[in-house]
Symmetry: C2
Subunit: 228 residues, 2 copies
């Protein structure tokens, strides 16, 4: 754990009082010893609390729907895994041999869970202020500047609003193809919208996801940023 | 708000520095003035954080699945509305006239949201320790003694475990009836299980809910507490 300790000190300026907490935060359940699952439960709640307070204070004019969407865009497996990668957390994960061989140190869920566990561990090690400081360091600008609320709405809603704002009819979605076996199906849909009957296609692991993908492409095609 | 202030002082021993925060926490969106929706966003995160820490420390042998189930059984609209009723919060809600006439001060979601908003308001008013103290007062024993983990698993899982523990076949669920219009449908199912082909029925707003209801009744019939 010495390497992990100096990494954390160098990268984020934090040194654990209880080094076992650091080890546990980095230990995936595939490895021996206490894993980070309980710490992740705690860290998830710590992170939600810290981010919620920051958003509440920084966005006094946002309603609770916008606040929830801002939080969801900051706190999700994809964004957390991205942050974990940025700070170089993957190199210090403790994985079982199977996970090591199959590239577990790059797997999104493993990285996201370990980062949440790290926040939980810092909280246990030295309290909520330290955890909050670490969260602000890891998130950086993402907790200082926030996207326009309308950009966070889902593409289908944004496309609908864009069209309605111009007096145009609602888009139509058509299922074009379903391929692959059960549980691994791929859906392809076609979206038609706009004055000139523009078409876009989308794909995803569910019909809903494919429609969102098609709506996003249609917005790009129509030049709609999502702001009405 | 003077009545609400003395109620809160008498019941929970807390006096707001900023009385406007108390008013806002109790104000439903149907009434005039700033409503409690943003405070509820914040209070929900405060509550989750406080309860998660308490569970983490109180249940060192529980895995993250059990911790999540414990938290879900403590923090949900039904339990929060029950707590709000216990402390007499309903009498101090500020509602629009329509909600007043239709009994909004007894509505589960309105009560639960106001209680969460109250926790958020106390946090803003005087910090996380005060919010934590208030949460512990409101929850009382529920944050000191916790149900056996197995009791928190969903009834279908518990029924399956109970039957498997006795070498009996899995239960069968049959959809008996669907009634009502779309979005207001009622589902009725029949569950068959046990050595003697016992039957139970269940109903709910979805097939899944109806099956859980039937499984719960089957467990009662079979005398299974849910512990294998």
């Amino acid at each position: 754990m010495e390497k992990a300790e100096s990494w954390l000190g160098d990268t984020l300026g934090y040194r654990f009082n209880d080094r076992l907490l650091l080890r546990q935060a980095l230990t995936h359940r595939s490895a021996d010893g206490p894993s980070n699952e309980r710490l992740e439960f705690l860290g998830d709640a710590v992170l939600d609390f810290v981010v919620s307070e920051i958003l509440y204070r920084a966005l006094p004019d946002s309603d609770e729907g916008d606040l929830s969407r801002q939080r969801a865009s900051l706190v999700n497996d994809t964004s957390l895994a991205g942050l974990a990668t940025e700070i170089g957390l993957g190199r210090h994960l403790v994985l079982g041999s199977g996970e090591q061989k199959s590239g577990g140190h790059r797997r999104e869920s493993i990285l996201a869970d370990a980062l949440e566990a790290l926040f939980g561990a810092v909280f246990l090690d030295s309290g909520i202020r330290s955890a909050s400081t670490m969260i602000e360091r890891v998130f950086g600008e993402r907790l200082q500047e926030f996207p326009d609320a309308s950009e966070l709405r889902d593409p289908k809603t944004r496309l609908q609003e864009w069209l309605q704002g111009r007096g145009l009819p609602l888009p139509e979605y058509e299922l074009v193809k379903v391929s692959g076996k059960a549980h691994r199906q791929r859906f392809e849909v076609r979206c038609s919208a706009g004055e000139h009957g523009d078409q876009s296609s989308g794909e995803g692991s569910s019909r809903r996801n494919a429609e969102q993908d098609a709506a996003r492409r249609m917005l790009e095609r129509l030049g709609g940023s999502g702001r009405p």
